[in-house]
């Protein structure tokens, strides 16, 4: 057989020989260099396929690898084997063939046998456990640190899992989930937390299989990892308790987890061998296959099975070819759930784009509305501006859609929740999801998670009855719980409906009176009674269950929804069930606002809250001792709020008859707001003021005005709150 570039090859082999001679047993870098050299030999000279020496190289690589992994008991012999192997290779280069006799050959083969290289199994046959000595890291501070970090890492996993569900091939997502388990396992080992270590190890192995493509990302896998996260959370909680109570750790049963792992579908299961395919198709009898396989095994340089079969006259070449094609088809990667190609983009970039798009829409409309432009009365210009408007609008929709994600992922998280709740409360719940593909702004998805959880918990805990009670009422024992989402009129509507017992208005009323929330209970309409559940500190549960908490929920839910500029409504029928409806705007970022001037500052009132504006006459202005100032608007008296006072603005107009009064409304209440001037009405792109100013009452955000200044957007809810404390509050 001709050797390509024999001079170079000889040199390379001599170098290899040198490396082998210099090798010591524990010489990790030396072994590394040796292995790398072997690799390059194989590559450069295409020796891997060489009938003559391919096997040698493979065997030597195997030995080298085992030495590195410290899996060889007889290290000295392994070194010898390498020595002999290299000698044989040098002979081959010189003479053109490997001498299958003589001292070197004999010694080599002998050593191969001793080291168990003749068996075609991999190194796993001799993998030994690294001896674990007793570790002594009971430092409580370390454990506390570990707990904290571990918890943090676990939190990140759920979000990543949701992402992974939608993008099953995302290596980065898989890695992001793999890492925490790997790390937790590692540290747990140091801290003698063997159960945590074991659990971590199990999941880590599974995820490693996923990383290397041997295991597909399936629903079963996601559930498994979620379950493992729960398990670990429990173990960590137990550890925390054990630490403070100074007791020993509880024992956790890991068998369910292991069972789940075993039951996972594996990717390699799906890829059949050529021989198997042929047998399946009836082209080959099983005994013939066995025969040929045995023949293959006994060959020194094994031929592909197909060749053997054809040579033996068992099948025609065409059949073999067909089988190979089929095999190829099945090894093609399983298609992702979504066939669409995706690009990974920094969220910050998308947000920036959406912001700018918003500004573009506004500026573009201002240009169109510009009087001087209109006065030009140019048809061509009109047409072009119209075109520009259309394109801008289209662009904006697309950029907004980049931030939208289907709400399905959030809904699916509820599935597990409901399952758990159903168990805990002993109630049977049939959860039905609708509109999972409905899209919602990604910034909102996180924000509505907690409210949704609370509403679902409420539905199962308070809404639905136990199977017995249901049957007593003539209802089927299984309760129905619907989670629906759909778009309507520029909003996304989310409904949480159950067919339980409905709100107990009597109990609510009683509780409200008890809490001093109402003074005249008889005068409340049913709808008003229902609304009482949103009052802070309200809960009709006589026993605060672990499930739904301390009744701090509903008011927070309402606040959260409203902070997103949404609304929450309830509709209930005693004995039949309740339905909570969340209405959230699709576009978070743009609102219609009236720009007002107060002193030197510019504020924006959301148009949606403004009823009318007027300049009051002296006779419409009243002051009442102890009540503050009032303005008469037609036949009503409204409390007046001085914006300049509430916000500490200097040089504002203080005389109501010289200023303007803006009637604003929030939640049915109206106020007369004193401002200097109204500068105009326009669409506003809301910009967050940042964490620093989050707690400021009365401000919803900021915006960049036409002159480049920052205008502050008023939050009516907060403003009213501020005003309640007012009366004689001077900021000056």
């Amino acid at each position: 057989m001709a050797i390509a570039d024999p001079v170079e090859l000889q040199k390379a082999l001599e170098q290899l020989a040198l490396k082998v001679v210099m090798l010591a047993e524990d010489d990790v870098p030396g072994l590394g260099s040796f292995l790398t050299h072997l690799d390059s030999l194989k590559e450069r000279f295409a020796l891997a396929d060489s009938a003559e020496v391919g096997v040698f190289l493979q065997e030597m690589e195997e030995v080298g690898t085992r030495l590195v992994l410290q899996e060889v008991e007889k290290a000295a012999q392994a070194m010898e084997l390498l020595n002999h192997g290299v000698t044989l290779l040098l002979t081959w280069v010189r003479d053109g063939q490997v001498p299958r006799e003589g001292e070197a050959w004999e010694a080599y083969r002998q050593l191969c046998q001793e080291l168990g290289l003749d068996k075609r199994e991999g190194a796993s046959a001799t993998s030994e456990e690294v001896e674990r000595k007793e570790l002594d890291f009971e430092d409580p501070e370390l454990v506390a640190n570990f707990l904290e970090e571990a918890r943090e890492h676990l939190e990140g996993i759920e979000a990543n899992l949701v992402y992974l569900e939608q993008h099953p091939k995302e290596l980065e997502a898989i890695n992001a989930i793999f890492r925490p388990f790997h790390t937790i396992k590692g540290v747990a080992g140091f801290l003698n937390l063997s159960q945590i270590q074991e659990a971590g190890h199990e999941v880590e192995s599974v995820l490693d299989e996923v990383r290397s493509g041997r295991l597909p990302v399936s629903q079963g896998l996601i559930d498994l990892v979620l379950g493992a996260v729960d398990l670990l959370k429990m173990m960590l909680a137990d550890l925390a308790e054990a630490l403070t109570a100074r007791r020993s750790l509880s024992v956790f049963d890991l068998t369910p987890l292991k069972e789940q792992i075993r039951r996972l579908p594996s990717a390699s299961d799906g890829v059949p061998r050529v021989g198997e395919i042929l047998v399946e198709k009836g082209e080959l009898a099983p005994e013939e296959l066995a025969e040929s396989l045995a023949a293959q095994k006994s060959q020194a340089a094994p031929q592909p099975l197909g060749e053997i079969l054809v040579q033996g006259g068992k099948v025609t070449p065409q059949k073999v070819a067909q089988a190979l094609v089929q095999q190829l088809g099945e090894t093609r990667p399983v298609a992702e759930k979504q066939v669409t190609e995706t690009v990974k983009v920094d969220v910050a970039k998308v947000d920036n784009l959406v912001d700018l798009m918003g500004e573009l829409v506004i500026v573009q409309s201002q240009v169109r509305q510009n009087q001087k432009v209109a006065a030009l009365n140019d048809q061509r210009l009109e047409r072009d501006l119209g075109q520009m408007a259309r394109i801008t609008s289209e662009l904006q929709k697309i950029s907004m859609s980049m931030r939208m994600i289907p709400i399905g992922a959030t809904f699916r998280k509820m599935v597990r929740l409901v399952r758990d709740l159903s168990h805990k409360t002993g109630k049977l719940v049939n959860l039905r999801l609708a509109g999972e593909d409905t899209e919602i702004d990604r910034n909102m998805v996180e924000a509505i998670y907690d409210p949704l959880v609370h509403l679902v918990r409420n539905a199962v805990d308070h809404g639905l009855e136990t199977p017995e009670r249901r049957q007593a009422r003539g209802k089927p024992p299984e309760g129905q719980l619907w989670l629906r989402a759909y778009h309507k009129g520029g909003n996304i509507i989310i409904e949480i409906e159950e067919d339980g017992q409905g709100l107990d208005r009597q109990a609510i009323l009683a509780r409200a009176v008890e809490r001093g929330l109402v003074s005249a209970p008889e005068q409340l309409t049913p709808a008003q009674i229902d609304q009482l559940i949103f009052e802070p500190g309200f809960s009709t549960a006589k026993v605060v269950t672990e499930v739904s908490g301390r009744g701090v929920g509903m008011d927070v839910v309402k606040q959260t929804i409203e902070r997103l500029r949404g609304k929450i409504e309830i509709s209930t029928r005693p004995g039949e069930g309740s339905c909570f409806t969340l209405r959230l705007p699709l576009t978070l970022a743009i609102i219609d606002g009236m720009v007002v001037k107060v002193g030197e500052e510019r504020y924006i009132m959301p148009t949606v809250g403004v009823r009318e504006t007027l300049r009051p006459l002296p006779q419409d202005y009243f002051t009442v001792k102890g009540e503050g100032e009032l303005i008469r608007v037609r036949d009503r008296l409204l409390p007046m709020m001085r914006l300049h006072r509430l916000f500490g603005i200097e040089r504002a107009e203080v005389n109501p008859t010289q200023a303007l009064v803006m009637v604003v409304e929030y939640e049915g209440e109206q106020r007369a707001l004193l401002v200097d001037e109204i500068l105009g009405k326009q669409e506003i792109v809301i910009k967050s003021l940042g964490h620093v100013f989050q707690r400021i009452q009365g401000l919803a955000g900021g915006t960049i005005l036409g002159d480049g200044r920052v205008g502050l957007i008023v939050d009516l809810a907060g403003l009213f709150q501020l005003g309640r404390g007012d009366g004689h509050n001077y900021t000056q």
Binding site: T65, A123, H153, T183, K185, G186
Partner: protein, 133 residues
Amino acid sequence: MEKYIDFGIKVLVADDFATMRKIVRNILKQIGFDNIVEAEDGLAALQIVKQDRIGLVVTDWNMPNMSGLELLEKIRENPETKHVPVLMVTAEGLKDNVIAAVKAGVNNYVVKPFTAETLQEKIEQIFKKLAGA
């Protein structure tokens, strides 16, 4: 054995888990090293190796932004840093990782969880070999 190790050298510990870094730091202190700096991912570690005089790098395999393997490769690529000894911390059972690291030129590796004795042994092996013994 100690004649091979200079305990005054600066040791870089890279791992994204703070608790882990603490543990390794404690062990290193037990062995006798007390000039230790930390990095929480490969990128930061690489910067430190480039800018500082590091006598030994003890790095975890799995880190965000740049893995231990990549870090090793980058250290070896750069003529100014290629001689810095690197010790890779791996988890049990991930053999492909070990082989990859060894081929990339790691000086030694240690499997988690390890004792102070084991770590010392591994570090001694590194410096003994470097000393030409």
